[in-house]
Amino acid sequence: MQKEARIISKSHVLEWVKNLQGIGEVIGPTKDPKAPTHDYVFARLSSPEEIRLDYTHDLLPLKRFFFSPTETLLRYRYQDGVHLEAEIDETKRFFFGVRSCDMIGVRYLQNIFSANYEDPYVLKKIESATFITLACHTPPLDTCFCICIDGGPSLAEGYDIQLWDLEDRYLVEVGSEKGMAAISASEGLFKAARDQDFRDREKRQSVTDQMFKIDAYFSRSIYRVTTGKVPDEVWQELEDRCFNCGGCYYVCPMCYCFQIIDCPHSPTEGERQRIWDSCVHVGFQRETSGHNPRPKLAETIKHRYFHKISYQNFKREGRNGCVGCGRCLIACYSNIDMPSVLRKIRKDQLTMSWKGHFDGHPLK
């Protein structure tokens, strides 16, 4: 069934972005001309020209815009008793050029933070946002494996607008009323989509899947983790390799563990903050008495994978905790990323060596 669709010529996109800037903040992929390196980072646009829709990946996923690395939950003041203040950010924002994997990540977090109890800090920011995604025609990086875990390269739902790159123009698929609103403000820039446009899209997407370079076989590993059949030696080997850097958590669109700390500014006032914290760290569950249910990295890593791919958590959360964005392959120092761990669990060969995925840097 075809959704409401339009066409916008690439030469009109900047004007569309400019119009959106009149309505709310526009956040898109940018490259800092002053930085000595050439990284793409999602940032608030000052001018539309900053947007770089030809980007590869922002190594930090979109979650930081909703589930902030540092979030002030409340401010307190002792003055004849205690006074509390809390602010919820409901700024209208447009996220332009979001990849499918990141979009799924945001919707997953939306589910997590509305289940049982609603988290206003995360949910209000997501509800105030309009998402304009960019379906991938080619995998942005060699590390991508979204096709292995229902993480892309395009979306059937969950977006407000999905853009399909048709070389000189975009096919603009509308997925929600918010998406419709984002178009109607700039109606003059869009044309009706014709059958030929849909055919061009089909033709371009027909070759996409073959372009992926990583294989990540989930099924057998899911079974083994679910039934507890993975030998302890596998987790021990992961502990030997793991640098405890937390990188896999920081760059994962699906990781959301956190800590809450009180930060007094003075004896009478301060704030309570939520900060990012990974369950892979050995101190994550340690109690005040010193007792620690998971005192070794082997156990915390085992638990993290259980959370991500076990059937028990699939039932609880509605999907696996992986979208195949490939960031963990880049962030991990010692090749214990999701596809490699899956291979290890699946093949259950302790002497099987860890082969790196690439000879050299994934960007080369």
Binding site: P36, Y40, R44, H57, D240, N244, C245, C263, I330
Partner: protein, 566 residues
């Protein structure tokens, strides 16, 4: 929300990272995918490096000691008091009674200004950068005899030789390359006292007795001489080296190091057949005289290896290499006549003990720091410094990359960048104040100067200090160990909530059998007594240490030790 590209302020790797700024606060950190060193990675210190910036414990007011307490003062009062103290000390005791110290985490610009203040304004020669004594001067270390390895060389090498290099903990970016190279077929030869996780995957791991690296390297040199006796016929120094190496037969070396002769020969065979070996050594990881001998041995070995071999010296702090280049003092500076000490940051380990032990004899101790460190607590005047995210400057990474830090936010209210504090002091002392542009120009001139090209081979035969003597009263040896989450003096690390949580307990590791023999059980505390001091800490059994060795991250306690139930 802004993203500001900067450089990590912890170790010598010099990873690139983005600081996320929102409402004048740094709220997070992002990795840099295209940075040549970090390549999209960061260690936990890097990922959490923004958390201490807004810690409630940041010093935000100068302090002056009145009686037994430090009291808040204004900048004018503190600068004036510091200047007066320096002036009157110089008058009373002469400039050589005043010493200056700059930590390895200070920028090149700050270190240059510190040197200017010390040498030009005060007139003292006693200025120490990063360490109280470098085992070798920068020029002697990088004398051009062997090629320096950069991070890219690790991936294309066919043999990595890790000398006392604890793979995950000290320089994660480099260690990550080692693991990736290992997975791609590169062989690893490692020598260390601890059988660390990488050791299990190494082609050959020689678990050597503490402080016997020198004997081991001389043993390899000995095998080179046996193997190709005539090859180095007329090279200067060859006779002295051969003479010295004679004492290190495979049999004797295996005895000293506690390894099998066969393993030593296998290690040699691996080395001599390698095409492009890269030696990796963490600078500053042992006492100065021992390290000097080790470096010379490494260079001699590489010269014997010939074409293709490279040496990677891994400096500890983000600007240790910059500090080393600028430093002019080597081993053995005498602090006994010092009456006034000014420290930018803190020294650590043995150096910190040496400095703090001067406390009773000093007339004036001035500290510039971000937090109330032990040195600041002992000080008479404390200046609150701005953090790496609040100032501009450059760090020289371990490979020699000069990288910028930028002020992503304004200096925290009440703090000032160290460069500003130093120039204010110069002004108070009536001296000419160098402009920021001048300092930057100097930095680029000094650091841009290529090292001396020395295509002449010359062997240096440095005698190997023997390992410390053990006896009944001190039957164990303490070996220092790097723990990634601990850093330097732990000042910044303990103010970072996630790191402090992970480091909740100091512990010392002991061989499992000896642990049981002493009647110890998990969770117990023991007292560790060395000739230089003692510490009470939790003790844990481990299978990765040989008998007689204890491992701790207390760099300040090394050498012979006795263990008692606490």
């Amino acid at each position: 929300m802004r993203n500001a590209f900067s450089t990590c302020n912890y170790c010598g790797c010099g990873c690139g990272l983005f600081l996320m700024e929102k409402d004048s606060r740094i709220i997070g950190v992002g990795p840099s995918l295209s940075h040549p060193v970090s390549q999209g990675t960061l260690c936990l210190k890097g990922w959490t490096s923004y958390q201490y910036i807004h810690s409630p414990s940041r010093l935000t007011q100068p302090l002056i000691r009145k009686g037994s307490n430090l009291k808040e003062a204004t900048w004018e009062e503190a600068l004036s008091a510091a200047a007066e103290g320096l002036k009157s000390a110089r008058q009373k005791f002469g400039p050589q009674a005043i010493a200056f110290f700059g930590a390895g985490r200070a920028t090149n610009e700050e270190l240059l200004l510190l040197q200017y203040l010390a040498e030009e304004v005060i007139g003292t020669r006693l200025i120490f950068l990063d360490s109280l004594s470098h085992s070798l001067s920068y020029k002697d270390l990088f004398d051009g005899k062997v090629d320096q390895a950069n991070i890219e060389d690790i991936g294309v090498s066919d043999l990595l030789v890790l000398v006392n290099s604890d793979s995950k903990e000290q320089h994660p970016a480099f260690s990550g390359q080692v693991w990736k190279a290992l997975d791609n077929g590169t062989k690893v030869l490692s020598f260390s006292t601890r059988r660390d996780p990488l050791a299990k995957h190494s082609q050959i791991h020689l678990q050597i007795s503490p402080f016997t690296e020198g004997a081991l390297l001389k043993g390899l040199i000995n095998l080179y001489f046996s193997d190709e006796a005539s090859r180095w016929g007329t090279i200067p120094g060859v006779n002295e080296l051969r003479e010295m190496a004679r004492d290190y037969s495979p049999q004797r070396v295996s005895q000293i190091c506690g390894i099998r002769e066969d393993d030593l020969r296998s290690a040699f065979s691996l080395l001599s057949s390698a095409r492009a070996p890269v030696f990796i050594y963490p600078w500053g990881s042992m006492e100065a005289t021992r390290e000097k001998a080790l470096i010379e041995d490494l260079k001699d070995l590489l010269m014997m290896k010939g074409e293709g071999g490279k040496l990677a010296i891994l400096y500890p702090s983000c600007n240790s290499r910059g500090a080393h280049l600028l430093a002019k003092n080597g081993i053995g500076q005498d602090l006994s006549q010092v009456k006034v000490l000014l420290l930018l940051g803190e020294p650590y380990g043995e150096d910190r003990r040496a400095i703090l032990s001067l406390r009773g004899r000093l007339d004036l101790l001035i500290s510039l720091d971000l937090f109330m460190s032990p040195t600041a607590e002992a000080a008479d005047i404390v200046f609150p410094s701005s953090s790496f995210a609040e100032k501009a400057g450059t760090f020289t990474s371990t490979e020699g990359r000069i990288q910028e830090i930028i002020p992503a936010i304004d200096p925290l209210r009440g703090t000032r960048p160290d460069a500003e504090i130093l120039t204010s002091l110069c002004a108070q002392l009536g001296a000419k104040v160098p402009s920021w542009e001048d300092v930057r120009k100097q930095v680029s001139q000094i650091l841009g100067t290529p090292g001396p090209r020395n295509s002449e081979m010359r062997f240096e035969a440095e005698p190997v200090p023997p390992p410390p003597e053990l006896d009944e009263s001190f039957p164990f040896t303490f070996v220092g160990d790097a723990v990634n989450l601990r850093w330097h003096t732990d000042t910044r690390v303990m103010k970072t909530p996630i790191l402090a949580r992970e480091l909740f307990e100091n512990y010392i590791e002991m061989n499992l059998e000896e642990f049981r023999d002493l009647g110890l059980r998990e969770g117990m505390t023991a007292k560790f007594i060395t000739r230089a001091g003692e510490v009470v800490a939790k003790v844990r059994p481990t299978e990765v240490l040989k008998k007689g060795t204890l491992l701790s991250s207390y760099y300040s306690l090394l050498g012979p030790v006795r263990v008692e139930r606490a």
